[in-house]
Amino acid sequence: MEQSDATAVAQVRAGNPDAFRVLVERHSRHVFRLTFRMTGNEHDAEDMVQETFLRAYRQLHRFDGRASFGTWVYRIATNCSLDLIRARKRREVQQPQVADEEGKEMAAAAVANDPTPERLAYSGELQELLRAALEQLSPMERTAFVLRHYEGMCIEDISRALGVHAGAAKHSVFRAVQKLRRALEPVMGPAK
């Protein structure tokens, strides 16, 4: 029979670190998807997966079982990634990256030349454009958007996960959508 998350947590707490393996193996793919969307690249996403599980292990004594282990660990993954992209933004302010801007413009231009949906669907240009659009969001906007759009979390839960007021979480989602629409205008046309 498959061991439940709660059982595994209890075993780790009882002094069996190996029981943590079940939890890592069960949740790592989902955590990767989340950290990839948050960080926008595989290398950082991988780092955040490891960081998330290590942090979860260290803080397991704080896990109170009110939410499921999955919910708790995704919350840790979100906050790890948020920390990382905040630090990344600060570094960018210190040394702005011109290459990023250029790449974005080139992608937009390529897409604008022949924006048929078929050609676009899985093209490298579209991927580049979507990634660039997400890069324009502030760390908080990106986090709120990823949680709302990809994780299907409601505003209320997002505010709890990030420790902000519901109004602030909602506002971040709105700002994110506005910025994404502006960034995707070359393909989607202006907002009506």
């Binding site: 890592v24 990767f32 490891q50 942090r55 920390d83 991927q127 759009h149 989602v173 989607m188 907002a191």
Partner: protein, 253 residues
């Protein structure tokens, strides 16, 4: 007729409650808002095609293989700490401490037999046990504070391990502070009072700190002058302890 705002449409798209209006009803009767919603939907649906790389086969196992060594390291550190905290000597001390605490707080509420045991500990022995236990407690606290004060990590600082230890120390600290108060040892109880605040600060701060937040913690440790005070009180305790040992030796001669 007031149209739905873009924000209203975003809420509607995600199935959140749109405050103040019945969005469903309005959309049913307003072509302009339906067009706006459609345009929003196209953009947001496009975001769904953001590709996430499919992790390699055996991905889960590989994550575990990478996480495991770090977990082992945490365990080794914890065990070392635990051995130190609860080494044999500590158990003897803890037992004696429990008796003293019971004597101090529960006199009258415990059996006569236990009261006799407590009474059997002379005032000197009691003080000595307290001194040794508090001395060790201060040393452990000092270790964490020094570790934090000397951390040179650039960027994010992870203090989650020190936080786990600080939480343990807070509980211990409370006990010793109460005993020190009862036995009228003002310098010790004042120090423990300050130490408790610093330990609580550490235990309750976020576990990943950026350099500004970390500097803040470090400043708080420094502002209290707590490390200096620990050294002073710690060496006073040691001197008192040495004095006793010498007394004992000369008596036995």
């Amino acid at each position: 007729m007031k149209h739905l705002s873009e924000d209203d449409l975003v809420l509607y798209y995600y199935g959140e409650r749109v405050p103040g209006v019945s969005a469903e009803e309005h959309l049913g009767s307003c072509a302009a808002c339906r067009t706006s919603l459609e345009s929003l939907r196209q953009t947001l649906d496009a975001m769904n095609s953001l590709a996430v790389p499919e992790p390699v086969e055996n991905y889960e196992t590989r994550v575990w293989q990478r996480v495991y060594p770090a977990i082992e390291a945490v365990e080794i550190r914890r065990r070392r700490w635990f051995d130190w905290m609860f080494g044999q000597r500590k158990w003897v001390l803890a037992g004696a401490m429990a008796l003293i605490v019971m004597g101090a707080f529960m006199a009258g509420r415990i059996s006569q037999k236990s009261q006799l045991k407590v009474a059997a500990l002379s005032g000197q022995v009691r003080e000595r046990i307290l001194m040794v236990a508090v001395g060790e407690h201060l040393e452990r606290s000092q270790m964490i504070l020094i570790e934090l004060a000397n951390n040179e990590t650039k960027g994010l600082v992870d203090i989650s391990e020190q936080q786990v230890l600080a939480e343990d120390l807070v509980n211990e600290n409370r006990l010793y502070r109460q005993v020190a108060l009862k036995s009228g040892d003002k310098s010790v109880s004042n120090l423990l009072d300050e130490l408790e605040r610093v330990l609580l600060d550490i235990a309750h701060s976020p576990s990943k700190l950026d350099s500004a937040e970390f500097d803040d913690i470090r400043r708080r440790i420094e502002a209290e002058g707590i490390l200096f005070k620990i050294r002073v009180v710690g060496s006073n305790l040691k001197a008192r302890e040495r004095g006793r040992v010498r007394q004992g030796q000369s008596k036995s001669l």
